[in-house]
Symmetry: C2
Subunit: 122 residues, 2 copies
Amino acid sequence: MSAVNVAQKFALFQEHWSPKVIAELNGQAVKLAKVSGEFVWHDHAEEDELFLLFQGTLFIDFRDRETVTLEAGELYVVPRGVSHRPRTRPGEEAWIMLLEPLSTAHTGAVRHELTQDRLERI
Amino acid sequence: MSAVNVAQKFALFQEHWSPKVIAELNGQAVKLAKVSGEFVWHDHAEEDELFLLFQGTLFIDFRDRETVTLEAGELYVVPRGVSHRPRTRPGEEAWIMLLEPLSTAHTGAVRHELTQDRLERI
């Protein structure tokens, strides 16, 4: 493995809600995603999920607590079992780094048209 | 937990080679460190270690492979069991985010004057 330039990796894809794996460690995957609009409500029963913003503004809605707002250079960990919905402002885009177990399905137990069963490695 | 602003966390400390924990997930710790000069050669027998550069230039020397150079926005995973030595150019400083298991000692099995037994949370 050589050094991974995060900006160069972001330049390799344009599609939304389709995380790409850029590194692995200790059973966790480092993923990049470009997102726009609303994702599906979901949770991950056994896995905490880290969001680190590289560009744009990301909102993470919760059922029972205030929405978290993330700007570039900010991170947040969604605890396991907590139902959440990532979203951007309509028509805007956010670039995020995710860290979660390799085994994590990005829509949790929810099957949705956005669900990706196999994540591409870039 | 609320959103964590990485730059604001870096502003909270000045000391070198003294990682601070800013988040935890899945048994892993997200740590920030400011480093300058040479660290001690060490390895982590059971743990991969991710370096993500926020500022400056970091070199990671290896016993048996080429030195990896990291600039801001670049990351690298040092595999478990691989002896390595982080360093900067003399007199320069680098700001890094580390991701590794909560249990990881930053100098591995090596005891050194730089070894910190308890990491501060900020």
